[in-house]
């Protein structure tokens, strides 16, 4: 879904006469506020963010040799918090335009968590047992 950006007071900015079509995705858009996001583009960005966070946490846990279920919960909270903060405050996304908070936060959650567990388990088994 490509949506019109919103002004700070919440009003939708109307299309301008000389407005050019939104360019296709580039990496610099990852830090751009108020860009017109396509649903698929935004979903992919959130998915890959989750995978990167999963890999970072899994490798860090595995190398450090930490043990215990609370670390899994810590990952879930941190990953969700970082993802939410990123699209809410960096991209300035209104989640209602994309099906709600749950719809966005679920993107990449299962595969990201599985990736974290795999990295953690393999590194822990290889280095600390």
């Amino acid at each position: 879904m490509s949506l019109r950006p919103k002004a700070k007071n919440g009003d939708v900015v109307p299309p301008q006469k000389d407005e050019t079509p939104q360019p296709s995705f580039q990496f610099k858009h990852l830090l751009e506020q108020d860009r017109l996001w396509d649903r698929d583009e935004l979903g992919d960005v959130i998915h890959w963010l989750r995978q990167i966070l999963g890999l970072i946490f899994g490798v860090a846990y595995g190398l450090a040799g930490v043990v215990g279920g609370p670390y899994l919960m810590l990952y879930l909270l941190a990953s969700t918090g970082i993802t939410y903060s990123y699209y809410k405050y960096v991209l300035n996304i209104d989640e209602d335009d994309f099906g709600g908070t749950t719809n966005l936060l679920v993107e990449g959650l299962v595969s990201g968590t599985a990736l974290m567990v795999v990295a953690w388990v393999l590194l822990y088994s290889s280095l600390h047992v």
């Binding site: 099906g99 749950t102 567990v117 795999v118």
Partner: protein, 185 residues
């Protein structure tokens, strides 16, 4: 390095994911039928989302709600047709996966392939401790590691190769309908 079997299982899971996508590409993704269906779905999705983004008064005044229903219905039918194209190759893929899994079961049955750094929930122990001796539930069986590795790798392989299925429109990821997004402004 201990537990090298775990890394081998990860490689096998990666190979399985790549193999299944290769089979799908050979028999499904490169066919004109699939490409047309996918292109039609993308166009209809964009059209529907533009319509839904318009103010409710405009939708009503221009009689666009019936058109939206037609596009929505067309999208559902096209998605079903897309799923049907993948059905036959799914049988081939699952057949091969079953053979691979049987071979792995023969090689790794009863062996601990990794050590879990946490004790799994009770509902997962049947999988994580499958056919392993003793009561130490941090011992990890091949089945659990293979399943987790598959869950981690398959969606990412699909996305990297550009073969991920289209996202559902008009509904949440749990299949519930989205609230009406026509803006009343």
């Amino acid at each position: 390095m201990a537990y090298t079997e775990g890394w081998l299982i990860l490689l096998i899971a990666l190979g399985s994911a790549l193999f299944s996508e290769a089979v799908n590409w050979l028999f499904v993704y490169r066919t004109a039928t699939y490409k047309n269906l996918r292109s039609n779905i993308d166009k209809a999705t964009k059209k529907l989302e533009v319509m839904k983004g318009q103010p409710a008064a405009v939708v009503k005044a221009k009689g666009k709600s019936k058109k939206m229903d037609r596009v929505d219905s067309y999208l559902k039918n096209t998605n079903q047709a897309l799923s049907a194209t993948r059905f036959r190759t799914s049988i081939i893929v699952y057949g091969i996966m079953f053979i691979v899994f049987s071979i792995m079961n023969t090689l790794f049955d009863g062996k601990m392939v990794a050590k879990l750094p946490f004790t799994p929930f009770v509902i997962f122990r049947a999988l994580s401790h499958r056919n392993l001796p003793g009561e130490d539930f941090t011992d990890c069986s091949m089945v659990f590691l293979y399943a987790i590795a598959g869950a981690a790798l398959r969606p990412n392989v699909q996305k990297l190769l550009g073969f991920s299925p289209p996202r559902p429109t008009g509904q949440t990821v749990f299949g519930m309908p989205l609230p009406d997004t026509a803006k009343d402004k």
